[in-house]
Amino acid sequence: MEAGTPELIKLEDLQVGSGLTGRKHILSLLVENKPGVLARIAGLFARRGFNIDTLAVGPTEDPDVSRITMTLDGAVHPIDQVTKQLHKLVNVIKIRDMEPDQAVSREMALFRVQAAVESRAEIIQFADIFRAKIVDVSRRALIIEVTGSNEKIDAFERMVRPHGLIEMARTGEVAITRSRPDQ
């Protein structure tokens, strides 16, 4: 057989990508509900220089298992390397790199906004448009609860910031995959 025959693989045809996807990734991790698991994950991210945009931790339907939902920027980190490193942690049971259009994701945020009498009506109107709830009122401020995609919460923040955003607390996104129509 001659070198370069078609049934062999031409070396010049072998290509690799950069590993960067350029988009936001939502990773959903099922982890054993044991002490120190979050520390192991946080430590891994710190020492490998991976940056988490948001992180949410909570129980699942199984008391022995917790879910960690994190979002990362695939333009900065090779997500493949992140998931492979996470898989090396013995307490990490399962990792799902969710496609945004196949997942339902939500975040909740609380805003404390300055609400002087003259701007109060407008802020309440914003809250209405965003289907947000006013959960606390004082003479000068409102506390508003918003739930939705993190883009929606970003948008709400942009709307109320000019009125005087005193404080904001966000949960980080949680997500689960959408059911297929036949499920």
Partner: protein, 559 residues
């Protein structure tokens, strides 16, 4: 049964015969259990020594090495050995005592959060919170340490829990861990693609690492390399996985590898990496590493693949499984052997032009390279050699043609000075019938010289051949080459008198200063009973060449 006794039973159930360690307050129950347990305990003189001994034991035998330490400083003294075992993927289990559960978190006497401190440098760790966990955790620790990519596992046992009474039932086989399923078999489709690429490569290089040794796959590796005239190079961790010298052997690659091996990597069109991780000591300047090559990367750890160098053909699996399949698929293609002719011509030209070599002294001065040649001669190339870290390590890697795996035991990843003596003690305990020589550096040996007592008291007849140049030689070399010769804190001075120090510990101490006497001196040391230190005084300021300066590319080697 007392939990500490159950722990010893669980260790025996894993096949443990030897443990290395030091007792202290928090692990007193463990040592009380050892009083009756059928386990041989080697009492080290510093926990770091116990840890490296466990590593040497594991590297020489392939079995899991075990070390014990007490809480607080005992445990923190282990950290260097744990990190070393992590970097070199050494199957080890470290069992530390912890303060009583009611004291945890109170800054109690000798309390240190050792699971926290070691978290970045363990494969996994367990903090016992219920005494009934102890036997199961031991079972899980051994499984995790020894399977997949091996590594260190820590089990931290609070003192009160190891005294508690529990029911002990031996573990039934390996545990089922939901988050731990190490891969074994390589994907056959990928293996076929790799074979087809290799059959088309005109300038291939097979680049092997310590993973081959860990997988006990040296035979499979050799057979694969010999399935054609494939040029072979190995990392410092892989030495012995291919029988050197050999006509297909290019020598070690990397910072102090041969020019031939590094130039071959630089010019290769296809590099097949097996159980190697493209460490910076191999690649030099990453952006200019092997610029013409496509990469097949075979590794049991998926996270190593495309970590530093993107792999065109990734194959996740155990080298022992993948290599025979790859050889079979490759042979089936009946690749044209003549396609490699020009490549071999080029390789032979490099070998001719750049052989490893040094200028011998005209008087009786002992050149360090000459010392390694003598070591090779008197041991007939067949001893277990442990080493410290520095010039002597690199000279040994260059000049001692390791032909079998598990004969070259050194600290490659972490680069731990002082590794050699305790590792030799561990290796000799694991392989009492083999000749075990620690090729030591004088800068390194003094860091662990308390372990002379361990070998003396336990009558472990290791031989330490000290390459004594009076310097931390590699650091001195860097100061000479890259810091304008402004030597700072690299001279060792005249202290200690090594012969007297050895004798003080109950060893035989010898000295050699004449190159014509070195073989005889080594021979005498090897034949003498008990542990022997041979202080070999070598050229003080010899540099280790060739070398790729840090951050430079392979083609820019110097020396």
């Amino acid at each position: 049964m007392r939990a500490a006794d159950a722990m010893c039973e669980a260790l025996k159930a894993e096949g443990v015969e030897h443990v290395f360690g030091i007792p202290g307050g928090a692990n007193l129950p463990t040592y009380d259990a050892l009083y009756d347990a059928d386990l041989i305990h080697i009492q080290a003189r510093h926990e770091q020594g116990a840890g490296h001994a466990a590593e040497g034991y594991a590297k020489a035998s392939g079995r899991v090495g075990v070390a014990f330490a007490t809480s607080g400083p005992g445990a923190t003294n282990l950290v260097t050995a744990i990190a070393d075992a992590m970097m070199d993927s050494v199957p080890t289990v470290f069992i530390t005592g912890q303060v009583r559960t009611d004291l945890i978190g109170t800054d109690g006497f000798q309390e240190a959060d050792v699971t926290g401190i070691t978290m970045p440098v363990v494969k996994h760790s367990f903090l016992v919170t219920d005494p009934r966990q102890i036997p199961a955790y031991i079972n899980q620790a051994f499984h995790i340490a020894s399977t997949g990519r091996p590594g260190p596992v820590l089990v931290d046992v609070p003192q009160d829990l190891s005294r508690a009474d529990i029911e002990y039932a031996p573990a039934q086989g390996p545990p089922d861990l939901p988050g731990y399923k190490p891969p074994t078999e390589g994907n056959l489709k990928q293996i076929r693609i790799a074979a087809k690429a290799l059959a088309n490569a005109r300038r291939p290089v097979i680049y092997g690492g310590g993973g081959i040794v860990n997988a006990n796959a040296s035979e499979e590796f050799r057979d694969f390399c010999l399935s054609d005239r494939l040029p072979v190079t190995l990392t410092v961790m892989g030495l012995g996985a291919f029988p050197a010298p050999h006509e297909q052997w290019l020598g070690m690659l990397g910072m102090h590898g041969t020019r031939t091996a590094n130039y071959a990597m630089d010019n290769a069109d296809l590099i097949v990496a097996v159980g190697a991780r493209f460490d910076d000591r191999i690649t030099g300047k990453l952006a200019e590493f092997a610029p013409r090559a496509k990469f097949v990367h075979i590794d049991i750890d998926p996270a190593e693949i495309s970590k530093n160098v993107p792999a065109h053909i990734p194959i996740v699996g155990d080298a022992g499984d993948v290599l025979p399949k790859l050889a079979r698929e490759y042979e089936r293609l009946k690749a044209d052997p003549e396609r490699l002719d020009a490549w071999w011509k080029q390789i032979r030209a490099w070998q001719e032009e750049y052989p490893l070599g040094y200028e011998d002294s005209e008087d009786s001065e002992i050149k360090p390279q000459r010392m390694i040649e003598a070591l090779y001669k008197v041991t007939e190339g067949d001893a277990i050699i442990t080493s410290d870290v520095g010039q002597h390590q690199m000279w040994c890697a260059q000049y001692y043609n390791f032909s079998k795996p598990r004969r070259w035991i050194n600290s490659g990843g972490l680069g731990t000075m002082g590794f050699g003596l305790p590792a030799a003690i561990g290796a000799k305990v694991a392989k009492p019938d083999e000749t075990v020589v620690c090729l030591a550096g004088d800068g390194s040996l003094v860091m662990v010289c308390q372990e002379f007592a361990t070998a003396a008291v336990h009558e472990i007849p290791v031989k330490v051949f000290l390459m004594n140049n009076g310097y931390m030689g590699m650091v001195r070399q860097w100061q000479e080459l890259f810091w304008d010769g402004r030597y700072k804190s690299v001279e060792m001075g005249d202290s200690p008198d090594w012969v007297k120090l050895a004798e003080a510990f109950g060893w035989t101490g010898m000295r050699c200063t004449d190159k014509n006497e070195i073989e005889d001196a080594m021979q005498t040391a090897l034949q003498a009973e008990g542990p022997v230190l041979l202080d070999v005084q070598v050229t003080k300021t010899e540099n280790c060449y060739p070398m790729i300066p840090a951050g430079a590319a392979a083609r820019d080697m110097v020396g």
